[in-house]
Symmetry: C2
Subunit: 222 residues, 2 copies
């Protein structure tokens, strides 16, 4: 794999970038990380050229060809570096993984944002309820398995574990603990963080919580 | 393919169901269509059991196993019946197709809904502008090609053509014509409708426009 030229346009607080870093680590693909440093929305020319429609990280540049959107990038990585597959091998298993990927992408992060941007107690309460209702389905589909697809850490695990770096911030501003509601899901988080590919790819949640606190001040929430 | 048991839980006005019908027709897969008849939200027990999270059509039942979400279903169909591939064959081409699929899924139908649910002229104008800005990118990526991936009608074409059954309603209530702004995209619609797999799978747009008019009355918009 040494001959591949792989770069990742990234931002340290983005849970979507963290997903891609975990996937590349799982596949043992070497890459250069190019950080977007302006958190206040300034974008590099390279980012704008590579993702002209959304102008967002992450962008994977593989031999200078841009692949964008984190879930799409994960599918691409799994196709280009097929050893240790992330997706199940059968078509039906794949369709189930894509279903949960879509569920996670549409629901989890927006619901979390509703928590930390809530200004009044009533808003916090309804945002917390919404978030916990979403996790209920994820906890249910995980069940007693070690990982979402069974014994192997894979596609759905990577998509969700990136987002969990923000969970302590959601917990702090929502006034709840995931483990009090969903101990199996909390154990899955701990189990996943024990993997070097995860712990070395994810930003320290404490740093994220401080970042969220800073954004709340900036938005006049507190 | 005769030994496959394929059923589609469907609703005649759903552009997402139409996509699946086009894909099955392109693949020459025989199936039984089971229509949800209650347009006002009553759901059959079969639908709720097959898609307990979203409780929405379309659902593809393949040998009684449910696959849900139209874009996911299309990917599944392409994997299970690989002859005449809908997705490009190379990983990079696939990633581009999935990128536009996601763009279409997130943007086009919600923007169209903003048009026909707008109550005041100012709202209509901004919804029209939003919708036309979205189509601009699709027109740009289509360019001078016959279809989105080149010469062959494929994945992105099917995802978008389903939605075009609603375009005349968007045009009527938005006060514009797609062909006045994007003649290449309009020609692509005409070219696609000339395919039997499309014309026989899509609900007549006039029927959709009447349906939208009925919903506008129901919602007190006119």
């Amino acid at each position: 794999m040494g001959k591949d030229d792989v770069k990742l346009l990234s931002m340290w607080a983005s849970p979507f970038c963290m997903r891609v870093k975990v996937a590349l680590a799982e596949k043992e693909v070497a890459y250069e990380e190019i950080l977007e440093n302006d958190l206040m929305g300034g974008k590099t020319e390279l980012l704008i050229q590579s993702n002209p429609v959304h102008k967002q990280v992450p962008v994977l540049l593989h031999d200078d060809k841009p692949v964008v959107e984190s879930t799409n990038i994960l599918t691409y990585i799994d196709e280009v570096w097929p050893a240790k597959p992330l997706l199940p091998t059968c078509a039906y298993g794949k369709s189930r993984a894509r279903f949960w990927a879509d569920y996670i992408d549409r629901k989890v992060f927006p619901a979390g944002r509703n928590i930390w941007t809530a200004k009044e107690d009533g808003q916090v309460e309804s945002a917390r309820k919404e978030f916990l209702d979403i996790l209920m389905y994820l906890d249910g589909t995980l069940g007693d398995k070690d990982y979402f697809n069974g014994d192997n850490f894979g596609f759905v695990d990577i998509l969700l574990i990136g987002l969990t770096s923000w969970f302590p911030a959601f917990e702090k501003y929502g006034g709840f603990k995931v483990e009090d509601h969903y101990p199996k899901l909390a154990a899955w988080i701990t189990r996943s963080y024990a993997r070097k590919t995860v712990s070395e790819s994810l930003t320290n949640p404490e740093k994220i919580t401080n970042f969220v606190g800073m954004m709340r001040q900036m938005y006049g929430i507190e």
